[in-house]
Amino acid sequence: MKKEYLLAILIALGVLLLNNSPLIWDRLTLNPAFTFLGRRAINSQDMYTYLSLIEQGKQGRLVFADLYNPVVQTTSLVRPAYLFIGKFAQITGLSTLASYQLFRLVFTLLFSLLLYQFISLFFADARKRLITFSVVLLSSGLGILTRQWSIDSTDLWIPESLTFLALAEAPHFILSQALIVGGFGALLQAFSANRGKYLVYAGLFFLLLSFEHPYDLVVMLPILGVTYLVFRARLKPELFGLLLLSSLGVLYQIYLVKQGALLSFYTQNVLASPAPVAFFSGFGLLLPLALVGLEKSLAKEAPKFRLLVIWLVITAVFIYFPLPFQRRLIEGIHIPLAILASLGLFALLDKLPRKMFTGCSLFALMLLSITNLYTLYQDYQVLSRETPQDYYYHLLKEETAAMNWLKENTGAQDVILANWFYGNLLPGLTGRAVYLGHKIQTPDFTKKIDRLNQFLLSQDPSLDRDFLEENRITYVFVGKNDAMLHYGFQPEKKNSLTRVYAENGVEIYQVKILH
């Protein structure tokens, strides 16, 4: 094997290891009282929504339901990646969580492969390719410095804004990064060489992307159009085919919204972009370097770099576009930015001797990566702080046992009532729907919390019955030291509930009045 590819593989594996080190450390040093959940500080609330899809796939479904929305059961969500992972888990018997983590690793390697291919389109020198590869995988902004100035630096909390953070996310996040890079790589090949078959490949990448992360198409399609115009490609029929193919997932999403299945999700899913200064801080030193790279790439002899310029410019323009999910639209922006920053870095260092060049590049890489080390440190901090009395990133073993009981003794039609913490985990661990469990995927989340609080303290059986029937609740899960008990909930005094499970302080109640 060529030394270059060996080094690239080592870099990818090294990043993979570094990125996942908090989870590996957590698994290895796990308190015996805990079950490992695999959650991290950023987006911890979302992880088990994805596990719920894998669990459904594992239990035999081909299209999925939103298990955090028990009233409107659509059972019509198409998520190819999670279907694939679910089926893999079903066939191999691997646990949902293990399958989730395994595919995070697989998709990271796939992304690394496609990324390296993509970078190879821009740099002929193997050394520059490897450095650029590392910059994309590892670079961050100045969040570590600016966090004390009340700046919401994007490199500390928006995974879409940074490759390293995205690689710490759910499988479909990583896959969508891979699909973006693959799609643009194919697109560049197609337009720069006027070869239609690459447009078919690009179309397939974007088609999958439209199901995994439909938001991205809002930005990708304009990029596609402008790139076509800039390269003056003669591939009109193929291009229209690609557009049509890419749009299928988006059309499907529109269909779901029209059906009402995702309306509340989109209404609640308001992801506003932070102030510009948060982005400046979040990209930090990459920005001045990218400016140098941009100036270089605008020179006539570097037409391929124009795709990166177009990608960067159009994504930037969409950052504050009046869409509720505007923050999502920055996904992938870090890739062209980091490549252009690498180009800028090389322009500054090109006249240095070979060893100095490599040394300075590595030093720059180290500077660019510091904030990522800080986010890893944050993960270590939150994970190591957990105790059996106060925990969020883990679950007590007796609670896991009770959830397993639920999984084995309930059916797909059952709806479980639990406090927000357990409600968030139950769909992923059991494949059952919950009354509430996710601030966005559970419609009217705040109102539901109020309704739940009323129910917990209510002493009126008819009101209890109405509440349980209206929400099709069939079981109530009460964890050890449950917040609902602290609030004043006395399940044993509710006429409508029968205790069906009680082990080590964890209880499960069945609702007497069934529908």
Partner: protein, 475 residues
């Protein structure tokens, strides 16, 4: 068309910078002192007389106060009655953009230089200008005119003749005219030290300006009022007189530090002794800005013409790079989007109500004001310092304990503001009981709240909502 755009892109970009700056200078109107300014203006317009003695408080009735911004009050009254709160927001933005325009025009700045200064200007003035049109806004306008005249006078000394009429207006509009005189003094002393041409002309102009500042309804007492603000420890209890630090989000300290760094670099690169008055005046204002956040705006406004001169003369031509144009266009589009789709819609400018005013200003309670209009408090009561002005502005027929005018008022050793601080923040119940109040109006998060809320033997809750509570003493 494309050729025309290419040929004129610099001018188009300059206009774009001013438009974007204007967009980002629009803030929801939230001047804490709106109410009493409004009533002072109303009194003047309706009676033709100046309100010289206090008629709104029961603590210092008849107190003779030199209202140094008396000329601003009828302006505010007329603007508010004609165009409402939204109009005051836009008027504030218009004055602010006029300040920026005056401070930067005529120096031959390129679009990126102007854009860079605009970012600093918007950010560093935020702490003052984020309340919409204020009397300080007019003070800032006069500061920028003065410094621009002083900078330009090196090439056109005849512009100095505009200084005396400027001070005549200034002494009637805002107390910052004393700062203006101080800046004039710095330029004068520097002129004598460095033997600048036309220094004697500046001296004559300064003397005339000082004389004209006495032409105001309160004559020399406006100076005494200004001096009180210079050396008064009580001011540290007023938000805008507190130091600039990282806990103040609207102070934008990183921008202030970056701007200071830029100025320092530009001064060092020039190393001209002729810049002495610029160093001294900006140095003084920068120190003041660190000590008191209200000086941040005065600093940047005074710095605008000087920074424009330094930046223009630095001859850094980034515009020759293609990326500069690209970056400028992208940033402009992004800022335009953010301004139009994110900032402005949250301000409700099309239907700005008292609810919005209270939300953006002191978190006062419009519902309580409505209640008090129908049921005015009787007797002597206690109220929040920040809310006094709002109640006065709403025309509630009552006398108040304190409002935003009164932080430095004292008579025969009695200072209501000191008692207010002691009662409100230090929970001095002895002092509270000594007053034997008939009524009390509090924010719900006030430290005093439990004292009244749970003392149902002495106090009756007459009104309460999510923001405020109104208690009357049980007879």
């Amino acid at each position: 068309m494309l050729d025309w755009l290419k040929k004129h892109h610099s001018q188009i970009f300059l206009v774009l910078v001013y438009l974007l700056t204007f967009l980002y200078l629009i803030y929801p109107y939230s001047d804490f002192d709106w109410g009493w300014h409004f009533r002072y203006g109303e009194y003047l317009v309706k009676t033709g007389k100046l309100l010289r003695e206090d008629i709104f408080s029961w603590t210092l009735p008849g107190f003779a106060w030199a209202n140094h911004s008396w000329l601003y009050d009828p302006l505010l009254y007329l603007l508010y009655t004609k165009i409402g709160f939204s109009g005051l927001s836009l008027a504030g933005a218009l004055v602010a953009i006029l300040i920026f325009f005056i401070g930067t025009r005529g120096f031959g700045l390129t679009y990126w230089q102007l854009g860079m200064l605009a970012i600093f200007y918007v950010k560093i003035t935020q702490v003052t200008l984020e309340e919409g049109l204020r009397s300080q806004s007019l003070g800032l306008l006069l500061i920028v005119i003065l410094v621009t005249l002083l900078v330009q006078s090196r090439k056109k000394p005849q512009v100095l003749y505009l200084v005396p009429p400027l001070f005549l207006l200034w002494a009637n509009l805002h107390g910052t005219f004393t700062l203006g005189l101080f800046l004039l003094f710095i330029f004068l002393v520097s002129g004598f030290i460095l033997k600048f041409a036309h220094t004697w002309r500046l001296a004559a102009v300064t003397v005339l300006a000082i004389g004209l500042t006495l032409v105001n309804p309160f004559s020399h007492r406006v100076y005494i009022e200004g001096l009180k603000h210079l050396f008064n420890p009580w001011l540290e209890n007023v938000m805008e007189w507190q130091p600039t630090n990282f806990t103040c989000s609207s102070c934008n300290l990183p921008y202030f530090l970056a701007f200071l760094g830029l100025l320092a670099a530009l001064f060092l690169a020039r190393r001209k002794i002729a810049d002495l008055p610029y160093w001294l005046s900006l140095g003084f204002l920068a120190v003041q800005a660190f000590l008191h956040r209200r000086y941040l705006s005065m600093f940047i406004v005074a710095a605008l013409p000087i920074a424009s001169l330094l930046v223009a003369e630095a001859k850094i031509s980034l515009e020759r790079y293609k990326v500069t144009v690209l970056l400028f266009v992208v940033i402009s589009v992004v800022l335009l989007e953010r301004g139009c789709f994110v900032r402005l819609p949250t301000y409700h400018l099309a239907h700005y109500t008292f609810d919005d005013y209270c939300r953006f200003s002191t978190n006062c309670s419009p519902k309580l004001a409505e209640f008090l209009l129908a049921n005015p408090p009787q007797g002597k009561g206690f109220n929040n310092y920040d809310w006094g002005g709002f109640f006065i502005g709403r025309g509630i027929q009552a006398k108040w304990f304190i409002d935003g005018r009164m932080h430095l008022w004292q008579k025969a050793g009695y200072r209501p503001f000191a008692d207010y601080l002691s009662i409100y923040y230090e929970k001095n119940t002895d002092l509270f009981n000594q007053y034997n109040f008939d009524w009390v109006i509090l924010r719900n998060d006030s430290p005093l709240m439990p004292e009244l809320k749970y003392n149902s033997l002495a106090w009756k809750t007459v009104f309460s909502d999510e923001k405020a509570s109104y208690f009357t003493r049980k007879k």
